[in-house]
């Protein structure tokens, strides 16, 4: 069953690559069917899995397991896979190859979340890079080649350090199966170097401030479908790996590193929000807001109480949905106007009422309006911080205020004010575009009013993990 989660998009990718050459329409339909089938398989796998127990023991290379931390992220991956295919529908440059690569990304990201041992994990982690490199490099905006190369070199540098860490853990510490990491941590002497080597690779992917310089380029130069996957699921791989590998394998080193993680989180929240506030390019604004949201994830992981870890999960899922929706809407606007430059946009509340409503909705979700998905996670993260780091929490709360500022500014600049003449006659969202936007909105509301949907799945795994984390700093 778990193998099918990887195999379905992979087979879909091959089929689309071969048959999709017939015509763009065939490619589109096949890709949509493949992504829907993959999502269906993920749902079935999550529904039938026993949940918390991860496989352990026998030294097999091909070994898949799904625990509670992975399950919601797999659902997110399957869901955003469908959305990304829908977002790419107007792609005219070799659409078959584009869809095939999107499905390949989906297959390899699913592999990262399902890998049952460290070698397989690393293999999938690197495998994600290759299709993504081509998606950015071939279908991106003007500066795509530079952005693709930067994306690859940065994340490959991070993963090379990570591989050094994994090699030390495996060959000197005998760590191998995911399920055994928590019960048999490394010797204390190895923990420090291993934790940091791994974490640099993981934090590069999120990314945290300092390791983030590839991110705005990659997110803005990538085509819409690529941005959705980059921000929606690829960024989550880093946080997942922190929770699933770095902390269990080196709990003592994690404990020592907690203040650093908290500081990185708070810096990310404030830096991301302030730089987002200064952007005039809509897509770049969304990219920097992602740094702020990922800051909450790192902060919550640094706090480490069971509730904080749940908050980290919630922020991850919420950000996947919200950033996906924002990038999707920005892409739809770009198809109509040919620009992301907010000074040239404006007044779309009148011209594109449906689009403008959806954009306002997504912006409100991004700033954390109660009832939408951004709220429960960030609230829980801030509350748990208060119990752990006291007044320093105020800095994180300040970030929430900034996020209201940049989100609402974006809404004001794009939706209100006079319409530029050149954009007066453009058409509002069509049915196919609605089909991509609406499910995201539904997801955002569902996670907003029913956060237990996510935390319930993850709870057993997070409680087991919290036995080695948490407490006052």
């Amino acid at each position: 069953m778990l193998t099918a989660v990887i195999l379905t998009p992979l087979l879909g990718s091959l089929i689309v690559a071969l048959l999709g050459r017939l015509s763009a329409k065939v490619a589109r339909v096949l890709a949509l069917l493949a992504s829907l089938a993959s999502f269906g398989v993920v749902i079935a796998a999550v529904a039938t899995s026993s949940g918390s127990q991860a496989a352990s023991g026998a030294a097999q290379w091909w070994m898949l397991t799904m625990d509670g931390i992975a399950a919601p992220l797999l659902l997110l991956t399957g869901f955003l896979g469908v959305i990304a295919v829908l977002a790419a529908r107007s792609e005219t440059r070799s659409p078959a190859a584009h869809y095939a690569l999107l499905l390949a990304v989906q297959a390899s990201v699913s592999g990262v979340f399902l890998a049952g041992n460290l070698v397989l994990f690393y293999a999938f982690w690197e495998a994600v890079l290759i299709p993504m490199y081509f998606i950015i490099g071939i279908w991106g905006a003007e500066n795509r080649r530079h952005a693709a190369m930067k994306f690859f070199i940065y994340t490959f540098a991070g993963s090379a350090l990570m591989l050094v860490g994994l090699i030390i853990a495996m060959f000197q510490g005998n760590a191998f199966a995911m399920g055994d990491l928590l019960s048999t941590p490394l010797s204390v002497g190895l923990q420090g170097p291993v934790f940091w080597l791994l974490s640099i690779g993981f934090l590069m992917k999120l990314p945290v401030v300092g390791l983030h310089t590839w991110q705005p380029d990659a997110y803005t130069q990538a085509p819409t479908s690529g941005s959705i996957l980059l921000s929606g699921v690829l960024a989550k791989m880093g946080a997942y790996a922190l929770l699933r590998i770095a902390i269990p394998i080196a709990p003592a080193a994690y404990d020592a590193a907690r203040p650093v993680l908290v500081a990185l989180g708070i810096i990310g929240i404030i830096y991301g929000a302030l730089v987002a506030l200064a952007q005039s390019d809509l897509k770049r604004l969304i990219a920097y807001s992602s740094i702020a949201h990922m800051g909450f994830v790192v902060l919550a992981i640094g706090i480490g109480t069971p509730l904080a870890l749940g908050a980290a999960m919630l922020v991850m899922i919420s950000h996947g949905l919200v950033a996906g929706m924002l990038f999707l809407l920005a892409g739809q606007l770009y198809e109509r106007t040919g620009t992301y430059e907010m000074s040239r946009l404006g007044g779309f509340g009148k011209v594109l009422p449906a689009w403008a409503t959806a954009f306002t909705f997504a912006a409100l979700a991004s700033l954390g309006l109660p009832g939408l998905s951004g709220f429960p996670g960030e609230l829980a993260a801030v509350l748990e911080s208060w119990g752990s780091i006291g007044w320093w929490t105020a800095l994180a709360a300040l970030g929430v205020v900034f996020s209201a500022a940049y989100n609402l500014t974006a809404v004001r600049r794009v939706n209100h004010g006079p319409v530029a003449e050149e954009f007066a006659g453009i058409a509002d969202l069509g049915l196919a575009e609605w089909l991509a936007v609406a499910p995201l909105a539904v997801g955002i509301v569902v996670v907003g009013v029913w956060p237990q949907f996510v935390t319930g799945m993850a709870e057993p795994a997070l409680r087991a993990l919290a036995a080695v984390t948490g407490g006052a700093l």
């Binding site: 690393y122 490099g137 071939i138 690859f152 540098a157 591989l163 000197q172």
Partner: protein, 484 residues
């Protein structure tokens, strides 16, 4: 096992070579190449069969070992020779020296096979000399001024390296052992002290030269760049695997892994590996020519394998496996990369040989570009390709030996290497060919399908070695590559 059976692969390859020489003398060049290829293929198949069926067996008359790793390395060498010869047959059939090149290729393969299986130090040196002599001839076979110069450079430097080796042999034979048979030498070297260390360093120098490790590398880029790519595809790759195998045989077997030599051996090799990785990668980054870039990156690739060789001094129980996998991965992927260069050259006669000149190949020759991409990813060490396992095992050994810094050096080198390997992928797929070039390209350029297929076959091998261990483990590889 009978003497004849143990010698049969080398005899088959040589028989093909002699028949080929006869056909070539009557100017039947195509036939000559075909016969030589058939001989190599037969030798490869027989070696593969010997590797799977027989455990390592010493043949007393020849001091050769046959079976498992000894035959597996030979099988790889013969098969790569056969594939590159078939792939290059169109170019060779058009060149006046084509028949001779084919014959020399077969002899080079036979010498490499001997190298990987002999337990006699004198024969090691003779085989190395044979490899070197044939390589000079292959480099100059293109009959151009530059290739003559490259061959001369190679020849003179090679003579110095041979001097090292003979000096080492005279120390070992004269001062201590009175024998050239490796297990005999081992007995006499215990407690030998400093003179034995000098011999080890000299032997290492010779191996380093033949492997083109830094600082013994300077002949390689000229030689590889000026030779015909399909020739370099064999000459610059598979013999290195045989030499690595010999290294992993001779050093431990002579007794250099004994406690008194182990630390010095580790540091000598670690230094050689680090220098090769750093130098190869940074100079590779500066190259514009595709084959020259491959030559420099080959220095770094040998460095990765030598990381495993260094660690093997401290871990005698795992001798060689990581080095052999790294060498195998390099040989197959680099052979494919040079073969790909051959295929590109015939598909685009106007190609100037630069990496930037590959722009637009991705669209023109999709299958060939995909195969070349696989080679580049494997050489970088990305998982699901053969190159990953080579690096993973070699660096893993370094970590097990307690020297994780060597693994870190190697992996950071890999990151740098994507700068130029990735540059190839970038050129093929992301860059648009300049307008002038597309206009001036002759419409009737016929792609060399043989070269293209050879590249694709090698790419499939790279993927198979990369993917299958995830399902079946590494036990097949480790049993078939076992040396002792």
């Amino acid at each position: 096992m009978s003497l004849w059976l143990s010698l049969s692969p080398i005899l088959l390859a040589s028989a093909g070579a002699i028949l080929g020489l006869a056909f070539d003398a009557f100017d039947r060049r195509g036939l000559a190449i075909g016969v030589v290829s058939a001989g190599l293929l037969a030798a490869g198949v027989v070696s593969g069969w010997l590797a799977i069926v027989y455990s390592p067996t010493l043949i007393n008359v020849t001091n050769m070992a046959v079976g498992r790793g000894y035959s597996a390395i030979s099988a790889v060498v013969f098969l790569i020779a056969a594939i590159t010869l078939v792939g290059g047959s169109k170019v060779l059939a058009d060149a006046s020296t084509g028949g001779q090149v084919a014959v020399l290729t077969a002899l080079l393969a036979a010498a490499s096979s001997l190298m990987a299986s002999t337990l006699d130090l004198l024969i090691v040196i003779i085989a190395l000399e044979a490899i070197a002599m044939i390589s000079y001839a292959l480099v100059s076979a293109r009959r151009q001024r530059r290739s003559d110069e490259a061959a001369m450079k190679y020849f003179i430097q090679g003579a110095v390296a041979t001097g090292f080796a003979l000096y080492a042999l005279s120390i070992i034979f004269g001062l201590f052992s009175g024998s050239v048979f490796l297990p005999e030498i081992a007995k006499s070297l215990t407690g030998a002290g400093r003179p034995a260390l000098v011999a080890m360093a000299l032997l290492m120098g010779m191996y380093a030269f033949k492997l083109s490790a830094f600082p013994f590398h300077s002949w390689a880029p000229d030689a590889y760049e000026t030779a015909t790519p399909s020739v370099t595809a064999f000459m610059g790759t598979a013999p290195k695997l045989a030499i690595l195998a010999s290294l992993m045989l001779v050093f431990p077997m002579i007794g250099f892994s004994a406690e008194e030599f182990a630390t010095s051996g580790f540091f000598l090799f670690a230094l050689l590996a680090t220098a090769s990785i750093v130098f190869g990668n940074f100079t590779g980054l500066k190259q514009t020519s595709f084959t020259r870039m491959l030559a420099y990156s080959g220095i770094a690739q040998v460095g990765y394998a030598l990381v495993g060789a260094a660690a093997a001094f401290l871990l005698p129980q795992r001798t060689g496996f990581a080095v052999l996998v790294a060498g195998l991965a390099y040989a197959v992927a680099a052979a494919g990369a040079f073969m790909g260069a051959q295929a590109v050259r015939s598909a685009m006669p106007t190609w100037d040989g630069t990496v930037a000149g590959l722009a637009g190949v991705g669209r023109k020759r999709p299958a060939l570009s995909a195969a070349l991409t696989v080679m580049m990813l494997s050489l970088t060490g990305i998982p699901l390709t053969a190159g990953f396992w080579g690096k993973f095992l070699a660096f893993g050994d370094a970590a097990t030996a307690g020297h994780a810094w060597l693994a870190a050096v190697g992996l950071l080198g890999s990151v740098v290497s994507f700068g130029y390997y990735g540059g190839v992928i970038r050129s093929m797929y992301l860059e648009e060919p300049s307008v002038v070039e597309t206009d001036s390209a002759p419409a009737g350029a016929t792609p060399d399908m043989k070269a293209e297929w050879a590249t694709i076959v090698l790419a499939v091998c790279v993927l198979a070695i990369g993917v299958l261990p995830f399902f079946y483990g590494l036990s097949f590889l480790s049993s078939v590559l076992a040396l002792f």
